[in-house]
Symmetry: C2
Subunit: 361 residues, 2 copies
């Protein structure tokens, strides 16, 4: 089976690459699910696509995590049914990670699978969510409880959409770019440590969007179902995920608003703690670890927590669905570009958390 | 990827094969969704399985087509969540085609896929629905609108369950057995034309259950996603499906209760009409066609319709999702065991329908 997606990437990829591709496919086969908000803020970028399709082929919906649930899916399925979408058609999902996750999920189980194309419009979408075929919606208050593997036939990363994102959203997506740069190494790492995420324009972002998309797509091609190589994309996420969930659900003793911790910020903290562990266990180079710490200090506020909070954090790491035994499996690194899967115990995880707090707080 | 299921088959397969297999897997990983009604009518057969599992691992639900929808799924997903089912667990679906379709679907998208084992308890389930990984629920009044390909790791065909089925249900499942016998040929065909579906006991059915399961499983192993070989399982279904839908939605001009046409009955009619077409187009042997007609006359009431009803029937055949062009694709046969895919036009389909009416009505 072919486990790959076509990657369109460039500051005008939507107009110059995606639109001709859709014309080639045959426009009467193409349907679109679009985040409502984009119609107001990116009408110009979207015009070549919107203009192509009959109005009845376009569904406008609300996006954002609070809409990522089964009721919203029912809207999409009703649209598919009313528009007589069938198994030979293609659904283009245009929006952030919520929209591509939800649109992808809806398409994946409609008539046992309609093809999709993702057009991510957030940085997180471009470098992570829209690639790789993991689709899902939240359910019963659990994130991504219902989902499917459904690889898009194509993904279009057009950095023109980035201009309207908040700093917080850019920094969140940048967390995943930093992770990819560690996994890719070489020039990408050199450029990431010199990059200024808050004072760069779309064209400057495009380099990272491009490399991140192609890197993730190449990993997924080898291991769509997340049984091996793909696990390396969890770098920084064992601790990062735990911090993210913990902060979202707890009140800070420091008075800062923990609710506002973004995914990418938590990943940056996770990367530091986990790479310290790799430094201790696998000899991951200290100078790179310190470059990462410098990057974090320049761009991110530290996540504040005390050692009294280690136990609930460890509990969260063990609930992580990736761990079947009691030891926690995590992605270590020998050096830039050299991830390895290993298991660690509580002591080692606590050392990682200690190190993060010592360096950043 | 491994596209196959373990097949347990035998009059005591549940007790003698499935239960030891589950013990080997580890009982704390096993959950069960059971058609409520079976607890009353098959307590004895189910006892070895029920006795194995903690009560909290068992969900009793209503089955039957009217329950095959998203609300019923939500019951299942709530049960999974409350029981903390995770990606390493296994869900055993026990019931007819509705239950295995629904349980399989629920499991397929829960946490992007929990393994399933099917224990079909109707003949239609054993010889068709429980095998091959097509799962689905009805939605917005459309049959199987939401679904997924999710192959069970094992299927257990235990004919002990058949004793409580009505004649109508046995005859419906028998329709699919007849189809498989045509596709398999040889001894299976010889035995099917001598078989009496209304006066045979469980042990006598087991032969056909066994061969049908293994045959369908072998086909699916080659072509899970229904892009090639698997299409041969549509033998008799191009016309059969159209007749089934048409009869369910129309009032008969003959005063008989068309609502009561079962899937298998419609397939038998479809087989006769389609094999006549094969006889004309591909030289399918007349004597086998006449053996089939004899079998139909012995066991099934004819489906009554007039030539005025051909047009709506043809319309239904063209809506069939398997047809992308205007000609209707159907499964023809050169001889027993030799299916071929081809396209036919309206005239040929009408000839098939004429022949059925001439022979049966
Ligand atoms: N499938 C995967 O592999 C994967 C990977 C990472 C994240 N995710 C999922 O992605 C989601 C997060 O995605 P996200 O960070 O893109 O958030 P998001 O999709 O919630 O988008 C954030 C907000 O930005 C708006 N928006 C979209 N494009 C915009 C633009 N160009 N300018 C201004 N506003 C815009 C949206 O309407 C929304 O309100 C989560 O649900 C997460 O689970 C999935
Ligand atoms: N997935 C597939 O490949 C596939 C193939 C064929 C049919 N199907 C689906 O299967 C469904 C039909 O399945 P079915 O014919 O088994 O009907 P069913 O599942 O509706 O069962 C019929 C009735 O029999 C009851 N029942 C179950 N086991 C019994 C037993 N041992 N004794 C007495 N009663 C029993 C059920 O409670 C139900 O009321 C349809 O929804 C159809 O779409 C799926």
């Amino acid at each position: 089976m072919n486990h790959s997606s076509i990657i369109f990437s460039g500051p005008n990829a939507l107009k110059c690459e995606l639109v001709p591709y859709l014309i080639e496919l045959g426009i009467d086969r193409v349907f679109m699910i679009l985040d409502k908000i984009l119609l107001e803020i990116h009408a110009d970028t979207l015009y070549p696509l919107m203009d192509l399709l009959p109005k009845e082929h376009i569904l406008l919906i609300e996006a954002g995590e609070e809409y990522k649930h089964l009721d919203q899916c029912q809207k999409v399925w009703r649209f598919f049914t009313e528009s007589k979408v069938n198994r030979n058609d293609v659904v283009v999902n245009v929006g952030g990670g919520v929209l591509t996750d939800l649109g992808g999920f809806c398409a994946s189980i409609y008539k046992r699978g309609i093809s999709t194309i993702n057009v991510p419009t957030t940085l997180m979408g471009m470098v992570d969510a829209a690639i790789g075929g993991k689709t899902a919606v939240d359910y019963l208050g659990v994130k991504n409880l219902l989902g499917a593997f459904h690889l898009p036939i194509a993904v279009c990363g057009d950095s023109s959409f980035l201009s309207t994102l908040t700093q917080k959203e850019l920094l969140s997506g940048f967390g995943e770019i930093v992770k990819h740069s560690l996994l890719v190494g070489g020039d990408m790492w050199q450029r990431v440590i010199q990059f200024d995420p808050l004072y760069s324009d779309s064209e400057e972002w495009q380099y990272f969007v491009d490399l991140s998309m192609k890197y993730k797509e190449a990993v997924v091609k080898e291991d769509l179902y997340d049984n091996g190589l793909r696990k390396c994309l969890n770098l920084g996420h064992t601790i990062g995920h735990a911090l993210e969930s913990y902060f979202i659900n707890s009140k800070s003793s420091f008075g800062t608003d923990r609710d506002l911790v973004s995914h990418g910020e938590a990943v940056i903290a996770g990367l530091i703690a986990e790479l310290y562990m790799s430094n201790q266990l696998l000899g991951f180079p200290s100078d790179i670890l310190h470059q990462l710490i410098y990057l974090a200090k320049e761009n991110y506020a530290p996540l504040l927590f005390t050692c009294k909070e280690y136990d609930p954090l460890l509990k969260l790491m063990k609930q992580d669905k990736k761990n079947i035994s009691k030891a926690v499996s995590y992605v270590g690194m020998r050096s830039l570009g050299e991830p390895v899967l290993l298991e660690v115990d509580d002591e080692e995880l606590k050392n990682g958390l200690d190190f993060y707090r010592e360096m950043l707080c």
